[in-house]
Subunit: 338 residues, 4 copies
């Protein structure tokens, strides 16, 4: 960590700060620059809060050199983490995993029909929301517990592990019982109470990137879950918020090489929420595979124009199958299977 | 609501859609444009989900004409809402309210010392976090219940109502008991489970704008709380996330006239989190008052360089007092008191 | 175009506005909504300025239905435009074109060495800046005319058409003489004087997307060039500015299907400027090809650590060759060559 | 400047880099950290290009400690610069200057009428565009030279110095002849050819902030002009581009204290372009004055609903006068006049 202090800082203040850090077990290296005094703080600085240092009126700037995350950091864990979901493996050089399903579970029959399509098309897991984060209180909020039970029924019939979004700590027992992967949605990426609670769960966590969160903040949210004891975290990019209006969000595929460079955890891509438009899902799916993603999560609906939420971005089953077939060929080119 | 359909849409599809809306009680007006067919849907469209309509492959675009919020909408509630917090009034043409206090409660003694300073400087309420949303799991997470109890002690001694952030539904009883205003933080602005829970509380809610949320989404989050039965919502702008690096966030003061135009609810400004730098707090506070804000919430600390969080943006008591004194003069110019 | 007027608008005002549009040859359709009056304006609305209509105090909102561009619009020109650069074709189902070369031309010898490498690796064209847009006036500003002449020398020796950035109208004659493709940089995307001047040139134009420009604004800038008479415009995405700090910019690959849907012009991707980091160039290049890009423009340097600008994002020749080899395999999977 | 190198960097590489900097006259200080080697480079680093250093594969990160600007830097020029425009002074503790006028000059008569209104209301200078940067090539592009001549006529009649936007180097002679302040628009803030040309002019320059430019980039653009010899630069904030849709741009008033802290140049605010809506202009004007702005530039039109551009954001003269009257009272509170 580098601390820049104003040239006018009194010597006594410099000595005081130096002593404080030394007392905490850090080594200090002072550089007397032209217009500033610069300190290097040597040691494990993850516990130092840079905004606290900025409270000192003589401090001009604080720059962190080492990453603020440890458990997620590839520097200390060089080999890839492979997450196991009922035998389906995500990460490393494993098969690229495709998760398909509706935005919301709308009933038993339609869900089973979609699940059948997902299975036949080559999907590996089933997604479906039983609790839905909706901008409007007047919009459909999800079926709740019955929605999760229909997901279990679909798993039973088609052998697809199920993924669903957890929105509240008080549903944790239910999610432990029913789902195979617990999704934390973009809007809850920094709901730290929920992250801590999920850190105690036994199920793998699909951690979506927040609307406007940096990659570093995203890794820090994974660190919360891992620090709680649950090391099975799967990152999921779903687009970030920008000024652009032709897409719902801006899909940031550069996260793929970055997450793989900085962490050892798997990363999958959600082209449906990212673009908000089914017409762009295929090309973004193929791009994600070419860039090295460990999986895709795609909205599939048998009748998008009747979907209760996000029909605009759902693929029909035939198109979902076509994405998988084309994607598989690209996977082979880069030395993976799908 | 305006629906634009492709020129190539078959007549049967147009008729089907028309019938569907008419069956739900809406009136339809069709415009045959040069390159598109455009429908106007007339009636209360708040319950229509535009993303569902976009699932129809013939639909090119859906535009909402009427705002998607009702209870917060000034159109249906022209007079200002004034929120009463233990006799202190926020909103309308009432006195501008200044809330001061530390980012985190760090102990009984330091809190009482700060509270005394806030009171003497002319502050009307006390802020202080007992549960802290921190990006890092290794950073100080707040004192919890004792923190709230110290706040109550301060209220008792200095007569300042207290504001503190609620991060989790399972603390709701505690907050009902201890605090006077429940703060929902920026990172939880779209934690819809929490919003619903807070909608059942009897205490007023200070609703911070999310890092990257539009004003419309922010009003919709207030609508969640109001739809739950709690109509005492106070908006709080605390800066949005942009590309700029010299400030922690970008303070968007234009929300003041916009919130007042579109809703009947009060709005206050947090210049501390917005700028992240105590040096800019005074000028942004004065600007907020001049622009018509109903209040300010400012971080105050007796020893910012020792603050356990966000020392960088905290004012010492003397400077806090100076902000209030200058602010009061501006308040008088625009016909209010402070 | 849809105009929403306040319910309180006097009848006389509605009639006046209606008459004005009818006098200009438009048809009008009025929808009397619950809380608003909504007009549809039917006809070619590209010449109507919506911000002028907003000047009317009774107007609540103006929404454009038809796109504001004509010449670039695929609706009126369904077949793909293929741009011919000295026999190399860009667009349609033609071979994917790879452009390589240094950020800045640094001298004759180093340029020729890089050009040789680009040619041998399979590059189709050579890039190199002779005039450089630099944030700092104290940074290297480019070699100017000699830089362009070295580019010509390289073309002569290796048969690679050359691309270079034009920053000022007064260099247009020079660019007509020396270069094969005129690049308009991100910072000049809305330098309308320059766009108009380039619209009179005979050389194809590579139009980079601005730092924070919407896709619609980008297409409008192409429309400027085309309206001037030069229809050979190639779009180039180079990342947009967001809050993310781990990359220089955020590469928005969703522009590929969008530009192809809305326009008939070719689009290429610049992964070097987008990520700002050579380590991410390969994965983003492969992603761009998989998503359907018509080409890539990649920074190549024989000694990136000595590059006078942007060494951080330049590939060495061997790695550039590896990108082309892997990319070609992906191109084959999606039915193209490279 | 701080350079962080990977722990694995060979000793020979560290020595080579050290020698290179020492040969250029810098002092070096090396910190051997836990996971990195960190260098401090001591001396005037404005000429070092950090992106060049990043080209070295062993370099992990480069952080600039000292600001990259010199002439604009308050560190080296502590007293305020006051720009003199035909006797009207901008900056320091001088009277706050209000510039009013139409977005575009639309003809002699309407301009003179507006100028009369601006003068009578208490405006100090007249704005008006003769060359207009328009997103669409089909929109009104400005009257050109006659527009400037009408501005001169207005100056003659009402004694108001005139401000107009320069879009192209080839109009520089015309602007030297006709205008009193040369405006560089947001879209040309990084048109470096134009900045260099303006650096040779004798007239003061109003430098608008770019749509998505950081404050540092903005100061660097001022540095371009100053490095060319023209030290009379006035910053003008006009809102930045964000995700928010209820305003045209997001007005960033925190630039006022920041520009004053880091530079010695004056700063004025454009609330009209920032908000895009005349209804928000008054409150943002008052906020800007309270925050310490040296001036305002406001769009004024005698008939906004007939304005050829940006009627939506123009004030009628009476309202402009009301802004000045209220603003003056706030100016008095903070110890200035207006």
């Amino acid at each position: 960590m580098i601390i820049t202090m104003k040239k006018s800082t009194p010597q006594s203040e410099i000595e005081k700060l130096t002593r404080e850090f030394e007392d905490k077990g850090f080594s200090i290296c002072l550089i007397q620059g032209t217009d500033y005094n610069v300190f290097g703080i040597i040691g494990d600085t993850t516990s130092i809060d840079e905004r606290m240092l900025n409270g000192n009126a003589y401090v001009d700037n604080v720059t962190r050199i080492a990453a603020p995350y440890k458990k997620a950091n590839r520097l200390f864990h060089p080999e890839d983490t492979v997450v196991d979901v009922n035998g389906i493996k995500i990460g490393g050089q494993e098969k690229i995993v495709v998760i398909g399903g509706p935005c919301s579970v709308e009933g038993e029959e339609p869900l089973l029909e979609i699940a059948k399509g997902v299975k036949e098309a080559g999907g590996a897991m089933l997604r479906g929301g039983a609790y839905k984060p909706r901008t409007s209180p007047y919009a459909f909020q999800g079926l709740g517990t019955p929605g999760l039970q229909y997901m279990c029924k679909a798993r039973e019939l088609y052998g697809l592990p199920v993924v669903s979004e957890l929105m509240s700590e008080d549903k944790i027992d239910e999610f432990e019982e029913y789902v195979d992967v617990v999704q934390i949605g973009a809007r809850n990426m920094q709901n730290f109470s929920l992250l801590k609670a999920v850190g105690k769960m036994t199920k793998p966590v699909l951690l979506k990137r927040g609307l406007a969160n940096t990659i570093e903040e995203w890794i820090m949210s994974a660190e919360y879950i891992m620090a709680g004891g649950n090391e099975n975290v799967i990152f999921c990019e779903r687009g970030i918020r920008t000024f652009e209006k032709y897409t719902r969000n801006t899909l940031d595929l550069s996260v793929i090489p970055i997450i793989k460079e900085r962490t050892h955890l798997p990363i999958i891509i959600d082209p449906s929420h990212a673009t908000g438009n089914w017409k762009y899902v295929e090309s973004m799916s193929l791009a994600a595979i070419a860039a090295g993603a460990d999986g895709l999560i795609i909205e599939v609906h048998n009748c998008p124009e009747k979907a209760w939420s996000d029909g605009a971005q759902s693929l029909k089953v035939e198109r979902f199958q076509s994405v998988i077939e084309k994607g598989r060929k690209i996977a082979h080119v880069i030395g993976r299977d799908m």
